[in-house]
Amino acid sequence: MSRYARNFQSISHKEQERLAGARVCVVGLGGLGGGVVEMLARIGVGTLDLVDGDCFDETNLNRQLLSTEKKLGVSKATVARERVAAINSTIKVNAFNAFLTRENAHKIMGQAQVAVDCLDSISHRFLLQEFAQIRNIPLVSGAIAGSTGQVTVIFPDDPGFKLIYGDPRDNKESGIEAQLGNLAHCALMVASLQSSEVVKVLLGRGEILRNRLLICDLMSNTFEVMQLV
């Protein structure tokens, strides 16, 4: 299929088929999630479960790829489904206009091979990790604040977020993004790094950020991979 012609210098035909057979659940369809959905759809991940109970508002327009003036007030999950269909009609999309909860987690995440954490609150990240670990699937997590971002990959038996945030009870709902806000270029850069990790996990090749945290600070052009354990 010529749609993937430019992939084939880096991804074999067999690997492309593997991506077509893969199923990924993206939780949160804002600054990070919008970018991740765009990239996973373009590279050809066959089934996407897209989760967000929110609707677009004007404050999203500065950075969220899926938000447009015409879509203000529209469900993020609905817009994400439309965007994937416009990019790549071969992809099956399950759009969930809901926030992930203990009650719906099984239904929403039940069949994905990888979950992607594109959430915007620390407490919800811990919940998502719990759900991913129960489902026995890896979780690719990204977080941003201002010009700073971080990415890690958590496998079912890994300590995960407690290595990054400590005890969940000691955390506020938000990190320093409450002071610094979020910028488009940082959101999309971290979304790119997350998409790269998803592809590597699905294809089983490359160095994966397991028990490691990639930290970037665009103000100082710092990119470092830190060992968490």
């Binding site: 977080a143 941003i144 604040a145 990190g175 979020n182």
Partner: protein, 76 residues
């Protein structure tokens, strides 16, 4: 005295001393001492990396250590 290379990220950057990067501290100084000396609120210190590896506030600094301190990042 020992020298450490100091990197403070994002909101913590404002706590960097006037002559940043390399700091001189007495032997036996731990990261918590450094945080106190720089007047960084402890609740703003989420991750400490020494030479690229996560460490605790109690870590005792060694000569030429590369110290990175990060606040909590949770936005999406």
């Amino acid at each position: 005295m020992i020298s450490v290379d100091l990197n403070l990220f994002a909101t913590l950057r404002s706590f960097l001393p006037d002559s940043p990067k390399t700091m001189t501290v007495p032997p036996g100084t731990c990261v918590m001492d450094l945080v106190t000396q720089l007047a960084i609120p402890e609740e703003d210190v989420k991750l400490i990396f020494i030479n690229g590896k996560k460490e605790a506030l109690s870590y005792v600094l060694q000569d030429n250590d590369r110290v990175g301190i990060f606040p909590p990042v949770g936005g999406g």
